[in-house]
Amino acid sequence: MANVTLRDVRKTYPSGFEAIKGIDFEVGDGQFCVLVGPSGCGKSTLLRMVAGLETITSGEIDIGGRIVNQIEPAERDIAMVFQNYALYPHMSVYNNMAYGLRNRGMAKPEIDTRVQEAARILEIGPMLERKPGQLSGGQRQRVAMGRAIVRQPKVFLFDEPLSNLDAKLRIAMRVEIRKLQRRLSTTSIYVTHDQLEAMTLADILVVMNGGQVEQIGNPLDIYQKPATTFVASFIGAPPMNLLPLRSDEIRSQLGGTGEAGLLGIRPEDFVISSDSVAGGVALDLTIGAIEHVGAETFIYGARKDGAQDVAANPGELPPGDVIVRIPGAVAPAIGERIRAIVPREKLHLFSADGRKRIEL
């Protein structure tokens, strides 16, 4: 049970590469914090710095009111679940879980109680005598979790623990991790590149990019009010449509100031309708491609050139394409012309460089 506080944490490698460029955030007691970002954004490095597996160039990491910068990983009172599980291949499941406790000189009966308890929670009781090599991916994952649980640490650290599992199992384990964390109410930091995992697990979501924090907050707040275009396009699938604004006239119609340069619209905020909305945006689209997912359908629509107010951001979409999400039952045809409208309150405005959100 502990808070984890990072104060201006930085990491510079001997080569001069700055992996972490000054990060501040706090995870409250019992909260589930998810670090999310594209690969190479420094999220794993940051987690490993909290774990004590990487040195901290400058700044402070505080776990439960104790600055741990100079403290060995084993002394930090943390437990870590690795992406490849890192189970000891020559030890039985029981010994894998008991090893850390034995190294701490815990009494045998106490170790046994803890391991049996963890095995019961994770439903791996029948496998305690097996070796990791005889287990399936999901079972190994559970053992790795078990190894973390028996320690009863102040903080759980998860480094992409689900990325080696198949899609179905990943969802099941995701739910289980969340339940388990609620039940144990242990402060947790979880690293992932999967925005869906991030959204579903997090109490606090930290979106990282290029060694910096883009936005910190409650997942829904981040989804509804992304602070930058990076966050807007990273959180949510399919990503938010980002359309450069062409003229001051549109800018003022939308109520934005001169610095507003990009208009963001989530695919699900479109409504197919021939009406127009006051203060909102209407796009006339020619359907270029359709993806049926079952419950929903994604339309890749090309805007009629010239006649439109806004132009698609070439970085995010094929030129001129806009993604529109509609209910699955509706079946439009390729080549059909539709009008997609968005009410004003669903619009997002960003500065031209994408670094700043402008409230409407």
């Binding site: 690795f82 599980y85 090893y99």
Partner: protein
């Protein structure tokens, strides 16, 4: 590939059997010769079936030797050889696994220099450095001793290289998990790395034991006392007789006895080998 060619398989098998016969015949001959009286062998009319002096010959060979040339029982030679071979094999493995551990898992200044220095010694076997090695062994009063037989031979670049390659395949996360589990470098080495290396150690042990057992030049140089002779030298001495009849039955018995420990090591370790191959742990 499934093939059902009854006669197609016959020819390869015949070739293989012929090969086995060619290799095994001299061994068979040695075993047979060791069971006959020396006069039968000496007059060139040794039969290809076992004689009746087997037990007697082996008993004499092990307990008293030839009495003429080696002046020592072969049992003692075998013990010397065994101590030397085991010492070399265990010593080489112990030293090289520790060196490889340092090179792979620790970062210290001149780490690569250390590695390459070890690597270069591949080009310096005992035969090349024999004079300085003899001088040092002699200065350290290690002539005619087991330490003198073993120590100069136990540095092994090959084994270090092999362990290094294996250690580099050990996932980094395993080291980190150990760190978090509170295992320091020594605990990690004994609790995780050593158990994972068992099959490598077994493989090396086989090779190094035979290497040690077959040592000829070095023991010949530094042992002068009869009771320090190794069996490989013993065979040579038993055959090289001047002004007398070579005791062939003793020589052959010694040869057979010299074969047994390496064969035993191979047979015993092979089981561990196979076990290691089936249970891929990692």
């Amino acid at each position: 590939m499934v093939e059902h060619r009854r006669f197609g398989n016959l020819l390869p098998h015949l070739v293989l059997l012929a090969g086995v016969a060619i290799v095994a015949f001299p061994v068979y001959l040695a075993v047979i010769a060791s069971t006959h009286d020396n006069t039968v062998i000496a007059n060139g009319q040794m039969p290809l079936y076992p004689g009746s002096h087997g037990l007697e010959t082996y008993w004499n060979t092990i307990v008293s030797g030839t009495g003429k040339t080696t002046r020592a029982p072969v049992g003692g030679m075998m013990l010397n050889s065994l101590i030397m071979a085991l010492g070399i094999a265990v010593g080489k493995i112990a030293i090289s696994i520790i060196s490889a551990y340092a090179i792979v898992f620790f970062s210290f200044p001149f780490r690569m220099t250390a590695f390459w220095t070890i690597f270069i010694t591949l080009m310096l076997p005992v035969e090349v450095r024999i004079f300085p090695t003899y001088k040092i062994t002699s200065d350290l009063q290690m002539l005619d001793s087991y330490s003198g037989l073993i120590l100069p031979l136990i540095a092994s670049a090959t084994a270090t290289l092999l362990f290094r390659q294996f250690f580099m395949t050990v996932p980094k996360e395993l080291v980190e998990a150990s760190k978090i589990d509170g295992a320091g470098p020594i605990r990690f080495f004994f609790d995780t790395l050593l158990p994972l290396s068992v099959t490598n150690i077994a493989a090396l042990f086989v090779i190094l034991f035979i290497y040690g057992w077959n040592q000829y030049l070095w023991p010949l140089l530094i042992t002068t006392r009869d009771d320090m002779q190794t069996i490989v030298i013993g065979i040579k001495k038993i055959i090289d007789v001047h002004d007398a009849l070579t005791e062939w039955q003793v020589a052959m018995a010694t040869a057979v006895l010299a074969m047994l420990p390496p064969v035993a090591v191979v047979v015993l370790m092979q089981r561990l080998f196979v076990k290691g191959l089936i249970e891929t742990e990692k």
